[in-house]
């Protein structure tokens, strides 16, 4: 039956090429936008190298300190992470790294800006960077505060004209570094592994950062298995209740160990300084769920107008099918069977649109990559994006097909055979 309905759907689409063309254009444009957005999310959150163990990685990205008179929301400091996030049960490795900061270098008289990240030796064991030259700096380099650096290939090209860079030196923010390794570029949208220049944590000019509860640091926790994640999160949360805030104006400290997606969700869903990052009801994973709901609502809202357009087009074609509906009803089709048939026909249309949209998405992603709007982005279709495109097409097809199908199926068989719409 499915084959028969699909065959008929294709023939019905061919009956009115103009209507079909208009419908397909709307479907394709809608799905193109949604699929490109999905591709950007995939680029930012999916487990691409070097974050190949993302499924068992947690981040401590935000810290909120509250007192009677003051509230501070920002990133955790080294002291907080070192004292309260180390040796959590179930954690295989833990790294402390800074967020990226701008660093300037003079190359041939030009002032070149790079994104610099200070990190430790574990960073290189949690993440799987692709080294094209040399290797990472070591725990000993970090302990000894050796001025060494790992740079990405684009920085190598900018600083050294594309030739081998290991062993060569450059200056950034008045500090001279020797290159020990070169890694492939990581896209800008990857929150944890992105930087142009990586240097040891310890090469900062002063060691005041070691004593701060607040600061520009991120804790990266690699769990032994995914099953350990809830226990790690729970233990870290309970440790936050024991943070020593003596000598500060704060009474409580709140921070969460969360997945990358939940971390970004929390960042994006904060609506202003008056709203706490760890507000009531947020709960562990609450922001991620809310973020998914917001994204789903946005996707549905985006589909609403083209859906209405498609519904109108399909309903307007309904009368042409009245006789067919009467015949099918006469020969035993139930209303439910007809609804199924017409929804399927609409899904066939949106799947064709989805197919065209996927081809157009690949072209759009290539154009976006070439434009340089997102530094180091290398956007392409992959299986996940394909699956998202398929899902969007199916949802779109069912949404826009349900109402016309219901209208058609409700036609009284006698009236339908007369070509009417009772």
């Amino acid at each position: 039956m499915l084959k028969s309905h699909v065959k008929l759907a294709l023939k019905v689409l061919g009956r009115r090429p103009f209507f079909t063309g208009v419908s397909l254009l709307g479907v394709t444009l809608t799905l193109l936008v949604l699929t490109v957005v999905a591709a950007l999310f995939d680029h930012a959150f999916a487990p691409h190298a070097p974050e190949v163990r993302q499924d068992r990685t947690l981040l401590v990205f935000s810290l909120e300190l509250r007192g009677e008179r003051a509230t501070s929301t920002g990133q955790p400091g080294y002291l907080l992470l070192d004292r309260y996030a180390r040796d959590l049960p179930g954690v295989e490795r833990m790294s402390i790294t800074t967020q990226i900061q701008s660093a300037f270098t003079y190359v041939g008289g030009d002032r070149v800006r790079s994104y610099l990240k200070r990190t430790d030796g574990e960073f290189w064991r949690i993440l799987s960077f692709d080294f094209v030259e040399g290797g990472p700096f070591t725990d000993e380099d970090v302990a000894s505060a050796r001025p060494v650096a790992v740079i990405n290939t684009t920085t190598r090209d900018r600083f050294f004209g594309g030739g081998p860079a290991v062993g060569k030196a450059f200056e950034a923010e008045g500090q001279r570094y020797q290159v020990v390794g070169v890694v492939s570029d990581v896209p800008f949208l990857r929150l944890v592994p992105f930087a142009d220049v990586f240097v040891p944590l310890t090469v900062a000019r002063s060691d005041a950062w070691r004593r701060d509860l607040r600061g520009p640091f991120v804790g990266v926790l690699l769990a032994r298995s995914r099953a350990d994640l809830p226990a790690i999160q729970s233990e870290f949360r309970s440790r936050m209740a024991t943070v020593d805030l003596a000598g500060t104006e704060f009474a409580t400290a709140s921070a969460e160990a969360e997945t990358l997606f939940a971390t970004v969700a929390r960042m994006l869903l904060r609506t202003g300084p008056g709203r706490a990052a760890f507000g009531r009801g947020a709960g562990p994973g609450g922001y991620a769920v809310k973020f998914v709901l917001v994204l789903s609502a946005l996707a549905l809202a985006f589909m609403a107008l083209p859906t209405l357009n498609l519904v109108n087009l399909q309903v307007s074609r309904a009368l042409e099918r009245a006789s067919e509906i009467g015949v099918r009803r006469a020969f035993g089709a139930s209303k439910a069977a007809l609804v199924g048939q017409f929804v399927l026909e609409n899904v066939v249309l949106t799947l064709i649109g989805g197919g065209i949209a996927l081809v157009a998405t690949e072209a759009a992603l290539r154009a976006l990559t070439a434009s340089g709007l997102i530094p180091y982005a290398d956007l392409h279709l992959n299986g996940r994006i394909f699956a998202w495109g398929l899902l969007f097409a199916l949802v779109f097809g069912m949404l826009s097909g349900a109402w016309p199908a219901w209208r058609l199926a409700r036609l009284h068989p006698v009236e339908a055979l007369r070509g009417g719409t009772r």
Partner: protein, 239 residues
Amino acid sequence: MATAEMATGRAARSTGAAAIRLEGVEKVYRTDRIETVALSNVNLEVGEGDLVAVMGPSGCGKSTLLNLMGLLDAPSRGTVSLGGREVGSLPDRERSRHRNREIGFVFQTFHLIPELSVLDNVEIPLLYRRTSASERKSQALAALDRVGLSSRVHHYPSQLSGGQQQRVAIARAIVGRPRLLLADEPTGNLDSQMGDEIMGLIEGLNREDGATVVMVTHDPRLAERAHRTVRLFDGRQVQ
């Protein structure tokens, strides 16, 4: 084969058992202001293997009667029984199932789906029985063979003459081996020669395959070829 089984399973003339029975049937169409009585107190029994013609002037309720017998519409009052079971007031899904299993329709305007080939059109009733594709094809080919259209299975309706289209419609009506064949002016859109051919086919289905046939017609010549004639006038059964 569908038609062969029909031939062995049913007698050429009525066996006495009722294929369909209408008792005290009334059909009233109501709008906000008007109430139109389309059929009033119709009592009719069609035996297995009967060939019955329904005649009467336009608007007398012939098609309404056929729609009620075909479970396409529900009576306002009275009962419709198919094979001894009251089916007139069943819910939509059940009525659909009975239509699919027990009734075949032939319409004046053929009502073939233009996008589908002859074979696909004939397969339609079997789609709603979850019959396998190979079985559907085999039964549809047998039905087309029965109406003499084996050589046109891959044609489309627009490539056929009116008579051939009605043959396809008859093949579609009999492919599911229904208990009852309902024909609403089956020759109304055909010239007399083609009309005779179609009537001959219907007679053959009745005589050789034992199909029970109820046929609405305006043509007295065709009605004469039926076993009996039911006459309606202003929604009432007058004969």
